[in-house]
Amino acid sequence: MAADKALDGFGRYAGPATLILASLAGGAKHGYALTKDIESFAGVRVAPGTLYEALARLQGQGLIEPVESQDRRRPYRLTAAGATTLQAQLDAQRRVADIGLRRLAQGWGPA
């Protein structure tokens, strides 16, 4: 699977999936910890249903994996494929952000 295409099939879950991958890049976390971490760095609260739908899809694609735990709250961690996908996803977003910012700085003004 090409890394930059990995989230193509996620549809409306591509955004939450990117946020989850970015959060797990900082270490393994369970559902509630993911919600709080994403809220702290992105300012959005991923609702439980959306979070677990995205988690299930990410796990199904082998981008994250559960960590063995005795706790009822199972943590997840990033896989190597997940890290590659996140890198590609963020690179693409950065390209868009760079272009947008450059154009704003250079030429934008009221018509």
């Binding site: 509630y32 910890a33 919600t35 439980p48 959306t50 677990y52 299930a56 199904g60 694609q61 009822r72």
Partner: protein, 334 residues
């Protein structure tokens, strides 16, 4: 990181609410994610006791999970085993949709086919009946072709002593089939003008077949909306009207469960998927003929070939079943 209020006073309230919300999800999903999802919900409920947006999100997530479990949506699965499971789930959903379609379609078709015996239909009704009859024949052939490899795989598994999980579905299927065949033949033979009686206008459909289809779909009736008229029916007929949908449900549920639980080779799955597409196209032809018949006449009572409101409603449900079945066939092919 601990969620607030998880183990504190009043924790039972959020736990009970979380358990209720968890029921939105299918059993397999609950088995895999239930515990951890409940913990997340409890923490979220403790933090935000009232959140209609969260409730809506969980309900929506449950619907998506159920549709995914039924092989009707979701990303293409990773790995051959999961792809096979998904394809079988999709095909099982298609089988359920086709059964609903045929249950309602059979009622309309048998009504036209039997009507033809009493008075010659006009052109539109005649063409619709012939097209529907052809579609029914094709669908019966496709069902037979699709069922044989699955029946063979189920029988092989049972013969190898690996019957676990297949006994109940097989019993449901066979029980439903026996009840439908015996009941359909019994009540079909009792219908005047069929079962060996001479016809006024022999149509394209053998009388016994039309009568069997009519009797098998006797429960698809507008009489349910007229209890006084229904009360005048013979007790045996009323019992059959109530029993036959249950028998059909057992038959279809058993077949779908057996299909989901039986491993099929990639070649058989490809074959089944091609049949699924052909079945959808045939159902579309049947539906087109049905709508042509409806469009030619305003629904009203009083003639053998005039559609009733129940026929219009039936065709609408059939269109929905076809759309769902088509989606299942598409998912099975992924």
């Amino acid at each position: 990181m601990n969620g607030p209020g998880v183990n504190g006073p009043g924790a039972n309230g959020p736990r009970e609410r979380a358990a209720r919300l968890l029921r939105c999800y299918p059993r397999a999903w609950r088995a895999r994610y239930g515990e951890e999802f409940t913990e997340l919900l409890i923490a979220d409920l403790a933090e935000r006791p009232k959140s209609p947006a969260r409730t809506a999100d969980v309900i929506r997530g449950g619907i998506v999970a159920r549709l995914t479990d039924a092989g009707l949506c979701g990303p293409a699965p990773d790995g051959a085993e999961r792809a096979g499971q998904r394809a079988r789930a999709s095909l099982a959903s298609l089988a359920c949709c086709a059964a609903l379609f045929l249950g309602l379609g059979g009622a309309i078709w048998s009504q036209l086919a039997i009507g033809w015996q009493w008075s010659a239909p006009d052109t539109t009704a005649a063409v619709a009946t012939v097209v529907m009859s052809g579609a029914m024949l094709v669908l019966a052939g496709l069902a037979l072709l699709a069922g044989l490899p699955v029946a063979r795989a189920v029988a092989a598994r049972i013969a190898r002593g690996r019957a676990r999980g297949l006994i109940v579905p097989s019993a449901l299927f066979l029980g439903g089939l026996v009840v439908m065949v015996v009941g359909g033949r019994h009540f079909g033979n009792g219908w005047p003008g069929t079962g060996g009686h001479p016809w006024t206008h022999p149509g394209p459909v053998p009388g016994g077949v039309a009568a069997f289809a009519w009797a098998s779909t006797l429960s698809v009736s507008s009489f349910w909306a007229h209890p006084a008229a229904l009360a005048a029916f013979p007790a045996a007929e009323l019992t059959w009207m109530a029993l036959s949908p249950l028998a059909l449900a057992c038959l279809v549920t058993g077949a779908a469960a057996a299909l989901r639980r039986t491993e099929l080779s990639p070649a058989v799955l490809r074959f089944e998927t091609r049949l699924a597409r052909a079945a959808c196209l045939t159902m579309a032809v049947f539906l087109g003929a049905g709508w042509a018949w409806i469009a030619d006449r305003a629904p009203r009572a009083g003639s053998l070939f005039h559609p009733g409101v129940i026929d219009v409603a039936g065709l609408a449900v059939m269109a929905l079943a076809l759309a769902t079945g088509w989606q299942a066939a598409r998912q099975a092919a992924r």
